[in-house]
C-alpha cells in the first residue's frame, strides 16, 4: 500500500483551475519528483497537500489517516512536513533558537508558561541532533538571517525534519543555489530518504534525475505523465512541454 495518496485534488481561483483532478502517490522510502514548467501549479499543489490552502475537492491520505479536513498544523502532527520555496526561517533568531522552536512543537505542550525553556535539556539535545543531521552544528549561535542562502536552505530543511515526518515535502530546495550548494543539497536529500519518503518539487533537472525514483510532470494543473526516470525522459509530450525551456538529457 502506498504511504501517501492524493486523489483527484481540485483547486480553483475564480475561473482558473489551478489544480485539475491531480492524483499522486508516494511509496515508503521513495523519492517522488514533481516537475513542470512555471505556472504549472506546483506551488498550489504543495499548499493543498500541506493544508495551507483549502482544496475544493479530492482527498489526501497519509499512512492510512485521512488528512483532507485537517488544518495544516494537524497534518504536520500526523507526519506530513514541508519546506518552503522562499526560505522561511526565523531570521532574527540564532540557528539554535530556530531549531529549538521547531523541536518544541513536537515534544510536549507549547501552552506551558511557568518554566524557562532554556532549562529543558531534552529540547536542546534534540535541536543539536537536528543540527548534526543537516550539518549546521558549527553555526548554532549565528543569527539565521545573516547566513548564506545555501545554509539557510539547510536550516529550512532541518525545521521540517523536527516533526519526524513520514512524508517530507520539499518545495524547490535548490531554488537560487549555485552548483556547489545544489550538490550539497542533493547529498543531503539522498541521506534523508532513509528517514522519510520525499515528494520533491524541483526545477533543477540534474538533481531530479539523480534523486527521483519516480517523476510526475505537471502542466496546466494536470498530471501530464507519471513514471520512472527513463519513461519520463523518453515521453514525447513531456519533451514537447519542456522543449526550449529545459533540456532533458
Amino acid at each position: 500500500m502506498s504511504l501517501f495518496v492524493a486523489q483527484d485534488l481540485v483547486k480553483r481561483f475564480g475561473g482558473l483551475v489551478a489544480t485539475d483532478r491531480v492524483s499522486l502517490s508516494v511509496e515508503p522510502g521513495e523519492v517522488h519528483a514533481l516537475i513542470g514548467p512555471n505556472g504549472a501549479g506546483k506551488s498550489t499543489l504543495v499548499n493543498l497537500i500541506s493544508g495551507l490552502l483549502p482544496a475544493d475537492g479530492g482527498s489526501i491520505v497519509l499512512d492510512g489517516v485521512e488528512l483532507t479536513a485537517m488544518s495544516a498544523h494537524d497534518r504536520v502532527r500526523h507526519g506530513l512536513s514541508r519546506c518552503f520555496q522562499i526560505t522561511s526561517v526565523f531570521r532574527g533568531d540564532s540557528v539554535r533558537d530556530n531549531l529549538l522552536l521547531a523541536v518544541q512543537a513536537h515534544s510536549g505542550s507549547s501552552f506551558r508558561c511557568f518554566r524557562r525553556r532554556s532549562t529543558e535539556a531534552g529540547l536542546r539535545e534534540r535541536a543539536l541532533e537536528l543540527a548534526h543531521k543537516v550539518g549546521l552544528e558549527d553555526m548554532l549561535d549565528r543569527v539565521a538571517g545573516t547566513l548564506p542562502h545555501g545554509v539557510q536552505r539547510k536550516l529550512d530543511v532541518a525545521l521540517a525534519l523536527a516533526a519526524r515526518p513520514k512524508l517530507l515535502l520539499l518545495d524547490e530546495p535548490m531554488a537560487g543555489m549555485g552548483p556547489e550548494d545544489s550538490q550539497q543539497m542533493v547529498e543531503l536529500i539522498a541521506r534523508l530518504r532513509a528517514e522519510a519518503a520525499i515528494l520533491l518539487i524541483e526545477h533543477d533537472m540534474d538533481a531530479v534525475f539523480q534523486l527521483a525514483d519516480r517523476i510526475s510532470v505537471l502542466d496546466y494543473g494536470k498530471v501530464l505523465a507519471s513514471g520512472d526516470t527513463a519513461y519520463i525522459r523518453e515521453h514525447p509530450e513531456v519533451q514537447a512541454v519542456y522543449l526550449g525551456t529545459e533540456e532533458l538529457r
Binding site: L52, F90, D97, L101
Partner: protein
C-alpha cells in the same frame, strides 16, 4: 524590527539587572510609610494608580509586543473588570477578593469570546475589530442605567480585604496593589521566556512557518489574548476600588490608544517596556500639569522625539548601553 528585538532578548549578565527589581520593590513597599511621615499621601495614591495601569500595560505588551497582535480595545477589558466590581457591589458583595476574582473571570470570558472572532483577522483588520468590540462595550456601559449610565457609579463603601481591614486603608491597599503588580510582572517576564512565550514570538515573526511547524497558531493566540484580557480586567477591578468610582469613560477607545502609546513608548516586546512606558508617561503628564493647562502639547512633542531618538522604546536605550 524583530532582528533587534532578539539580539536584545539575550539576557545581560550585569549584576545591576539582578538586584534592581528587588531594590525597586523594597523602595515601593516603603513608600506608604515614608509618604505618611512626609505628608505625601497624594503621591502614594498616584503611585498606586501607576501600578494598576502597569498591570494593564504589561498584559497589552504581552499580546502586542510578544504576540504581534495590535489590539486597540484593551480598555474594553479594563472596563469589563471595573463594571464586574460595580455589579457585584450593587448586588451586595463586600469582599474585595470575590469582586476582583470575579472581574478576572468575567473579563477573561469576554476576551475569549471577542478573541475567538477577532483573531480570525490580522493586521489593520484585527485592530479595527478589537476597536469595534471595545466601543460596543463602551456603549453598553453608557446604556446601563442601573449602574449610572453616562454618569458612572460611585462605590461608597470600601471593599473588605479580610481581618477587618478594607481598601479604605490606603497603605494596606497600596501594598496589596504592589504585590499583585509584582506578581503579574514576574509572571509576564517568566512567560515571555517559557515555551509559550517563544511560540508567541515565533507567531509574531513568521505565522505561516509556525503553522507549518505544527503549532496550533490560532489557539495559542487565543490563549494569550484571553490571559491578557483577564489581567486587564484585574487592573480595571483595582482601578474601580482605587477611584471608588466607575464610569464608561474608563473604556473609551482613547484609553486603549493611550495604553498602546505607553507600551510603544516604553518598548514593545521588552520585559521592562510596559512598566517604563507607564511610569514615564504618567509622571510626565503629572509634572506638566503643574505648569500648564495645555500639557498635551509638550507630551506629544516628547513622544515624537522619543519615536525618532529611540524607535525601539525607552527600554531599548538601556539594552544598548548594557551591551555596548
Amino acid at each position: 524590527m524583530s532582528d533587534e528585538l532578539h539580539s536584545a532578548a539575550i539576557p545581560s549578565s550585569g549584576g545591576v539587572a539582578r538586584w534592581l527589581p528587588w531594590a525597586l520593590l523594597v523602595a515601593l513597599a516603603l513608600l506608604p510609610v515614608v509618604g505618611a511621615q512626609l505628608g505625601l499621601d497624594y503621591y502614594v495614591g498616584f503611585v498606586r494608580r501607576m501600578l494598576i495601569v502597569m498591570i494593564a500595560a504589561t498584559s497589552l505588551n504581552f499580546i502586542l509586543g510578544y504576540g504581534g497582535m495590535a489590539a486597540l480595545g484593551h480598555a474594553g477589558f479594563i472596563g469589563v473588570g471595573a463594571y464586574t466590581v460595580v455589579a457585584l457591589v450593587d448586588a451586595g458583595v463586600s469582599s474585595a477578593w470575590t469582586a476582583w476574582g470575579a472581574a478576572v473571570l468575567v473579563s477573561g470570558a469576554f476576551a475569549a469570546l471577542i478573541g475567538a472572532v477577532s483573531l480570525r483577522t490580522r493586521g489593520v483588520y484585527f485592530l479595527m475589530i478589537t476597536l469595534a468590540f471595545a466601543q460596543m462595550l463602551y456603549y453598553l456601559a453608557v446604556s446601563l442605567s442601573a449602574y449610572g449610565g453616562d454618569d458612572g457609579y460611585g462605590l461608597y463603601s470600601p471593599l473588605e480585604l479580610g481581618a477587618g481591614r478594607t481598601t479604605g486603608d490606603a497603605a494596606l491597599f497600596f501594598w496589596v496593589v504592589l504585590a499583585i503588580a509584582a506578581l503579574v510582572f514576574s509572571f509576564a517576564s517568566r512567560a515571555a521566556v517559557s515555551r509559550f512565550g517563544h511560540a508567541l514570538t515565533g507567531i509574531r515573526d513568521n505565522e505561516t512557518r509556525m503553522e507549518a511547524l505544527g503549532y496550533p497558531v490560532y489557539r495559542l493566540k487565543l490563549a494569550a489574548f484571553t490571559g491578557a484580557g483577564a489581567l486587564a480586567g484585574l487592573a480595571g477591578a483595582l482601578l474601580a476600588s482605587h477611584n471608588n468610582f466607575v464610569s464608561p469613560s474608563t473604556m473609551h477607545w482613547t484609553e486603549s490608544a493611550t495604553l498602546l502609546v505607553m507600551v510603544v513608548l516604553g518598548g514593545l516586546g521588552r520585559r521592562w517596556g510596559a512598566v517604563l512606558g507607564v511610569a514615564v508617561w504618567l509622571v510626565l503628564s503629572e509634572v506638566l500639569k503643574l505648569y500648564t493647562e495645555y500639557w498635551h502639547w509638550p507630551l506629544g512633542l516628547m513622544l515624537i522625539a522619543v519615536v525618532f531618538a529611540a524607535p525601539r522604546g525607552l527600554a531599548g536605550l538601556f539594552d544598548d548601553r548594557s551591551s555596548a
